[in-house]
Symmetry: C2
Subunit: 205 residues, 2 copies
């Protein structure tokens, strides 16, 4: 699918891609910019002392980027059972029970991909933070663009998880996930805003 | 180009796509989600009273989305003269003068597309704000994902403009653009954060 078609299809009422796939793609764009800045730096004499660290980061961002691209498709696949479960009959007590159980399993499944998008976005945010000051100044704005995209995928993934797990009856599981999300998002946002402000002050220097 | 190839090429050291194209695409994803929520609402009895307004908004978002997709290519084209100007010779006084003048014109040109991305993102942010409460609750998280992406394209565009105009010698022009950016970004961010928080509180209700 071309990126043009992706955006066109996203804007339509077709069930996929939706907010889940959009978040993964925005995250992948954010990670890709970290890789780009590393690739533009490698081989430059001025940053020689950081080269081994930058190569190590690049290996990580390549993996995270590929995984986010895979998650666009996986999120769609994990969402299909839920969209089918909504239309299950619930006329008899037995049907109601089956629908309820199916829904619970489908909601958990639907939250799987966004939970991974959240965690990968957080990893990538920390990598962007690490490359700041160790990579070519000519690409300084790209770190700011990358971190802004990852802030978006992080906060988007949070909504995509919550909209699924909030209807779960397993309170322990729900609370555990919510605590995990809060911890990651609070720290992630702090890093994003700090890195963005630092990029901005370097550009304005 | 597939979205997969776009991300792959973005991550490489090839000059395009870069942070400019990335910001346009992230913005286009944000606008597309506004269209999607409108498309999912149209025809629903519950939101009948807003239907004409939603149709009007959808017409606008379709135009903004197409323009952002065009800007990915335009940003690349506008950046090429600048990347060539960097390598102009500057050995004699005459050559220095020519290089300096060329650079100034190229920097202005390179800031054109990001300036439009900034303005379109702001328009789309205001449209997301308008559809909140007037569109299907089933797509409430998509408003939050859309507004997060547009917050990213807005802040990214700001960096892409500044990195070009900060080297301009025309102080009046530079200050005028900076004032314009600040006004748009300050208001845009406020709306984004308010809409996101409202979406979050609806999801957690």
């Amino acid at each position: 699918m071309t990126y043009f078609e992706f955006v066109e299809k996203l804007s339509s009422k077709s069930p996929t891609p939706g907010g889940g796939g959009a978040s993964s793609l925005v995250g992948a764009i954010g990670v890709a910019l970290c890789s780009m800045v590393c690739n533009l730096t490698i081989g430059k004499k001025k940053y020689e002392e950081y080269e081994s660290e930058i190569l190590e980061i690049l290996e990580k961002t390549n993996k995270l980027q590929n995984r986010l691209l895979e998650l666009i498709k996986e999120d769609e696949e994990n969402f299909l059972p839920l969209s089918k479960a909504y239309s299950l009959k619930a006329n008899t007590e037995e049907e109601k029970k089956i629908k309820e159980e199916t829904m619970q399993n489908c909601l958990k499944l639907a939250s799987k991909a966004p939970l991974e998008v959240l965690k990968i976005s957080y990893e990538a945010i920390k990598l962007h933070e690490r490359i700041l000051g160790k990579t070519t100044i000519l690409a300084i704005s790209d770190i700011g663009v990358g971190i802004s995209s990852l802030r978006a995928s992080l906060l988007s993934a949070k909504l995509n998880i919550l909209i699924n797990i909030n209807s779960l009856k397993d309170e322990d599981y729900k609370q555990q996930i919510k605590n995990e999300i809060d911890e990651i998002v609070n720290d992630g946002i702090k890093i994003c805003d700090r890195v963005y402000d630092e990029v901005l002050s370097i550009i304005n220097k």
